[in-house]
Symmetry: C3
Subunit: 136 residues, 3 copies
């Protein structure tokens, strides 16, 4: 069994932003030489999150609108007595900062409309992305 | 280390539907012969999702009601200018299309009330389920 | 490849409660002797959930407030005709009962503000936590 880890950084724009990181993840998989196993994508951040879905311009805006509706920026948050980003913490906590995929014959198993998207809810920032490939 | 992958298909009914896939996942685990490691269940679809919870008739309806309350079918979605299923994309993106379990002594670690449920939010369709067992 | 599994129990207080289990997970990783691979944390319960985020006293209350806003205790739930905890099932189903991390050089890859938190939505109870470390 081999374990391959590669870290990337991306820079986001605006308070909320979405960056398609599918190509980076696929690059790490190729570089790993691992053909069968799994791929774990992880963002070590408490105010960003990962989703796996279609990267369509209208839907990109729908993701952000829905997140801001479920987790409005200005709310009665206790955390905002010491900071201003409680809504980003809540979105990250409940949607999650990890996504995992089967890896079969050198290809990430994902559907036609499943792109890997980093969502920043507290940008602009430089965000780290850890890609781990485990298998043989 | 061994990696075993098996794919199933299920057919859903109605726009929203829930299919209990626990038995399929357990069948794949038995067939793999792997005793210790992990089990990854993945749906390669952008308008379906996986949950792990109780399969009780009332609660089945509660899952759908809550998803439709959080992600209403008819909303002001930009994606719906080119399609009609933005709410299903949002539910799939935020709840997620993968679930993972420890595998110990040939058994999936899960609680008494934790069944593995595929939720289709844009049916009726034929949906693929990829089960990966990794371990030894 | 090695697979190491350790189970812990924690006791919660009140109907909703949060317990920081980061130290338990790190203890299991050390005990495993595994240096590179992944760490899977799993709660085999249908009315509790796991989140990975900041453990700040105000934010702890914000997590619970938001969960109770999205999944109110008293709602028109069909499951509550036979029980009284539908909202806890919904929160557990949609947020999830598993969290996974890369393990690199003996350390769990996580951000400065990413603590591992068990959220009980139907306490007080004794809750099981299964930590699996897989790698070499």
């Amino acid at each position: 069994m081999k374990v391959f880890v590669k870290e990337y950084t991306v820079t986001t724009s605006g308070r909320e932003d979405i960056v398609n990181i599918t190509r980076l993840v696929e690059e790490a998989v190729r570089e790993s030489g691992i053909r069968n196993g799994l791929v774990l994508v992880y963002v070590p951040h408490a105010t960003a999150l990962l989703i796996v879905n279609e990267d369509e311009p209208g839907l990109r805006k729908d993701y952000i609108s829905k997140l801001l509706q479920l987790f409005p920026r200005y709310g009665d948050y206790l955390h905002n007595r010491i900071d201003d980003n409680a809504n980003a913490h809540l979105a990250s906590a409940f949607v999650g900062s990890a996504r995992i995929f089967p890896l079969v014959d050198g290809r990430i198993v994902r559907g036609t409309w499943q792109e890997i998207l980093l969502v920043d809810m507290d940008g602009p920032r430089t965000r780290r992305i850890v890609v781990e490939v485990l298998g043989e």
